[in-house]
């Protein structure tokens, strides 16, 4: 069995060796040993198989046992060697790996070194670049500074340029202003130039007219000269005949004159009564009409006054209503005030009573305050006195205690002294007894001086002691007296203290009562003061309202009234406006009738045409730029000046524009006053619808049917308010020609027909509307 086991172990060891040999490839010594073992074992195994049968059991067992042990040892050796080989193999592997690692490390190191070198190079490059950049930065900063400096310089120059620009702008603005001023002046001058040009034109046209007139006059004069010569030629032949004819004619004329005179006288005589009657009638009518006019005026004034009164009455009513409301409020207040007496229970019926009550309350309050003050002062004084007394009492108490102590000490002293005295007296008695005994025993004269001396000394001592004791007794008695007096004072002070404490009690109660009254009075006073402040505020508000009303223009109608001149520009402007409106309406109606007739195709009635053309003339007159007023003294132009076509200012025109409306209205009234005589000469029919200045017609009642008379019948020498309307100055020659022509026509045609106005209008072809 053991051989089998040995064989098994040997096989196992062989397997292990094979394994180890397979593992170890190159280790030759080990391999060689292993191979030898292998061989041995194989041999042994072969030999063992063959030897089993032949050998003895015990010897072979020991041999086998030893062999097995050897085998085991060898196996162990082999195992150890294989282990070693494994280890060495591992070591080799490790070394290889180590080498590889080293190699890789070296490679990595080299690569890292290279990379490090590269990075170092890069760093250097970057550093160089950085240096370059820094240099560039420095350069750039230097450039920046230079540029900043340049900027500053530029800004300075810019500021300078700005200042100069502003100065130039200011100068330009001033120049612009001067230019505007100059432009304004230029415009004014242009206007004046225009005016003057117009004047020139007018003057030239006048000059032309005058020249034409001159030519006419020349021709007339020449004709007259010729006629004169012919007459002179024939006069000589007729002289004689004329003389005779003259004589006869003179007689005839004388007779005719006488006849005429007689006839006139007869007719006048016949006419006289009629004329007188007519005169009377006319005077009566005149007076009646004047009265009627006055009454009209009065009635109108009354109406206006009544209307104003109405307005005032309405205002008064409103005021009344307000006042009634206020009155109700005040009555309510009054009643509340009157109820006061019921509420407060005092007999108050009038505000005077209330005021008296308040005054009384105030007086009472004052008195109570005074009393209060006096009581307070007295209380303070009493307190002070009490405190003083308390302090004194304390002081006295302390003094008392001290005195008591002193007394006790004194009493103790006295007792001690008395005891001493007793003792001394006893001693004295004893001494005296001793002395007496001595005296009785001894003889005198030897010891007597000494004895006497001693006796005297002893007596002196005794006297001193007596004196001392008497002093002490006196002091004692004094102390006792003081004690008694202090006790009396203390008793007195205690009594006074009690008295004061009893007195202060009732005084406080009286002060409290007055304080209640005072508080009630104060409340009342506050209420009254509140009401007073309210009333003051109301008063201030009313005053402010009053001021505002006075600024608006309100006034106290009971104290002031507002007056103005009856003849004032506003009223006259309004009347002028009304007249213009009426005239325009009439023209409108005329034009409508004319239109109607024209549309119907019928013949235009002369009257309408005549009536319309002056209106067209008027329109031309309105649109012309005023009338020349130079020749006021000229009789011709005085006629012409009667054409007072005061054109109304165009409504809607801006008041500030330099207007040139019809300026005729700004002429003085003299030509107007001169009108009646001129007009009665026959211009009335020429201008039946002439526009007249408002002043001439304003306050005159127009006689019915005679529109023409309105020019002449102005009764009041009224200032021309027409000029007070917004109208310009007279500056145009155009109308002057119109006037002169009309005047001429008026002079030449003493009884012009209605057809002349168109004629006169047509003689002025240069006059177009709109000039």
């Amino acid at each position: 069995m053991t051989s089998v086991t040995d064989e098994e172990t040997g096989l196992r060891s062989l397997a292990a060796l094979d394994v180890a040999m397979e593992d170890l490839g190159e280790n030759t010594t080990v391999l060689s040993s292993l191979r030898s073992l292998n061989n041995f074992i194989s041999q042994r195994v072969e030999g063992g198989v063959g030897l089993d049968v032949s050998t003895s059991a015990q010897g072979s067992l020991q041999m086998q046992y030893q062999q097995s042990i050897q085998l085991e040892e060898r196996a162990e050796q082999i195992r150890s060697k294989s282990h070693i080989i494994q280890v060495e193999r591992e070591k080799m592997q490790m070394e290889l790996s180590h080498k590889r690692a080293r190699v890789e490390l070296e490679r990595a190191a080299s690569t890292s070194a290279r990379s490090y070198e590269r990075e170092v190079d890069r760093n250097q490059e970057l550093l160089t670049r950085i240096r370059q950049l820094q240099e560039r930065e420095a350069e750039a900063e230097a450039k920046m500074k230079e540029q900043l400096e340049r900027n500053r310089l530029c800004k300075q120059s810019l500021d300078m340029a700005n200042k100069k620009l502003r100065e130039k702008e200011d100068s330009l603005a001033q120049a612009g202003e001067t230019i505007s001023e100059l432009k304004g002046r230029i415009s004014d001058l242009q206007w004046t130039v225009m005016d003057q040009e117009m004047q020139l034109k007018g003057l030239e046209s006048e000059k032309q007219e005058l020249r034409e007139q001159l030519d006419l006059q020349h021709r007339k004069w020449q004709e007259a000269n010729q006629k004169i010569q012919e007459l002179q030629a024939s006069q000589e032949s007729r002289a004689d005949q004329e003389q005779r004819i003259k004589d006869l004619e003179q007689k005839l004329t004388l007779q005719e004159q006488e006849a005429v005179i007689v006839k006139n006288m007869k007719s006048e005589l016949v006419r006289l009564p009629k004329v007188e009657r007519e005169l009377k009638q006319l005077k009566e009518e005149n007076a009646y009409l004047r009265e009627m006019r006055e009454t009209n005026g009065l009635l109108r004034e009354e109406v206006e006054g009544l209307q104003r009164k109405l307005g005032r009455q309405e205002k008064m009513q409103e005021n009344l209503v307000d006042l009634e409301l206020e009155k109700e409020r005040l009555l309510a207040k009054l009643q509340s005030w009157e109820r006061l007496d019921q509420s407060t229970g005092l007999s108050i019926r009038t505000p005077e009573d209330l005021s008296r009550f308040i005054v009384e309350l105030q007086q009472r309050e004052l008195a109570l305050k005074e009393r209060n003050g006096s009581l307070a002062s007295s209380a303070r004084e009493l307190d002070k006195v009490r405190q003083q007394l308390q302090e004194e009492a304390r002081q006295l108490g302390t003094q008392l205690l001290e005195e008591r102590k002193k007394r006790e000490t004194h009493e103790a002293l006295a007792r001690r002294l008395q005891k001493r005295v007793l003792l001394l007296t006893k001693e004295r008695d004893g001494m005296r007894a001793i002395l007496g005994s001595y005296d009785s025993e001894l003889t005198p004269a030897e010891y007597s001086p000494q004895l006497t001396r001693r006796v005297r000394e002893a007596e002196d001592m005794v006297q001193k002691v007596h004196a001392h004791s008497s002093d002490m007794e006196a002091q004692l008695s004094e102390a006792l007296e003081e004690l008694g007096s202090q006790k009396q004072r203390a008793d007195m002070l205690e009594m006074e203290l009690k008295m004061l404490q009893s007195q202060s009690g009732p005084a406080e109660q009286s002060v409290l009562l007055s304080r209640e009254e005072v508080s009630a009075l104060r409340l009342k006073i506050e209420e009254l003061e509140g009401e007073r402040s309210r009333l003051e505020e109301e008063k201030k508000k009313l005053e402010v309202q009053l001021e505002q009303l006075t600024l608006v223009g309100d006034y106290d109608q009971s104290k002031t009234k507002v007056l103005h001149l009856a003849v004032n520009p506003a009223s006259e402007a309004r009347q002028g406006l009304r007249q213009d409106q009426a005239r325009l309406q009439e023209e409108c109606e005329r034009l409508r009738t004319l239109l109607g007739t024209l549309e119907r195709g019928g013949p235009v009635p002369a009257g309408l045409e005549a009536s319309c053309l002056p209106s067209s003339k008027e329109v031309a007159g309105h649109r012309t730029l005023g009338h020349h007023h130079a020749a006021a003294g000229d009789g011709v132009l005085a006629h012409g000046a009667g054409a007072h076509r005061a054109a109304p200012a165009a409504p809607g025109q801006h008041p500030r524009l330099p207007q040139r409306p019809d300026p005729r209205a700004l002429q003085p009234s003299d030509p107007g006053l001169a009108m009646p005589s001129a007009l009665k000469a026959g211009r009335l029919q020429q201008e039946p619808h002439g526009q007249l200045p408002p002043h001439t017609a304003r306050h005159c009642p127009r006689p019915p049917g005679q529109r023409q008379d309105r020019v002449g019948t102005h009764s009041r020498p009224v200032p021309q308010p027409g000029p007070l309307c917004r109208e310009g100055l007279p500056r145009s020659p155009s109308s002057s020609i119109l006037e002169s022509v009309q005047g001429c026509s008026g002079g030449l045609l003493p009884a012009p027909s209605p057809g002349t106005p168109p004629h006169t209008a047509q003689t002025l072809p240069g006059w177009e509307p709109g000039r």
Partner: protein, 193 residues
């Protein structure tokens, strides 16, 4: 017009009645010129109070003003006139557009031409904020006098010619020896369409 009824307290014209009358004639002329009630050709320039003041050159208007001013002198001697008001009203509608109100107080102080100059300047300056008078207007002068004053022939009484919805601006005042004049102007608040 931005100013809405600021109520300053004007001064009063204390002066002799003549200086006051002179002021009124020149002041009213300047008002009429500035507000364009009459065209500028109706005014001439005159040096007064150290200013170039416009005085109307039209005879009728001067006559009217002289009448009013003479009456004002008389009444101010009697100390029975309280205010002089220049009312500018629309001719057609009769609506009152502007009121220039001069309060007259009779006191005793000294005369100053500078004050008159300043008031005239202020009248000129107020034109800048007063609204334009776009319709044809005319003027009228009212006197606020004592109730018990005897009314002469040509004068008549009427209401106070308020402006409905007005705003007032008080101007400076000036004073002469006896009289003091407060000036203020009231104009109609323009209706915004």
């Amino acid at each position: 017009v931005s100013q809405q009824g600021k109520n300053f307290h004007g001064i009063t014209l204390r002066g002799s009645a003549e200086i006051m009358a002179e002021f009124f004639s020149s002041g009213i002329s300047s008002i009429l010129y500035q507000r364009g009630v009459y065209p500028s050709e109706a005014f001439t320039r005159v040096q007064k109070y150290g200013l170039t003041v416009l005085v109307n050159s039209h005879p009728e208007l001067t006559k009217y003003l002289n009448n009013v001013v003479e009456q004002l002198k008389d009444w101010s001697y009697q100390r029975s006139v309280q205010k002089l008001v220049v009312v500018i009203s629309n001719i057609e509608s009769g609506e009152v557009l502007e009121r220039w109100q001069f309060d007259i107080e009779c006191d005793r102080t000294k005369a100053l031409h500078d004050e008159i100059c300043s008031v005239t300047r202020q009248i000129t300056a107020t034109v800048t904020f007063l609204p334009l008078l776009e319709v044809s207007c005319s003027c009228d002068l009212l006197m606020y006098a004592d109730q018990d004053l005897v009314v002469p022939e040509k004068w008549e009484e009427l209401g106070s010619q308020f402006i409905t919805n007005s705003e007032q601006v008080c101007l400076r005042s000036f004073a002469t020896t006896i009289h003091k004049v407060n000036s203020m102007v009231a104009c109609k608040i323009p209706v915004k369409d």
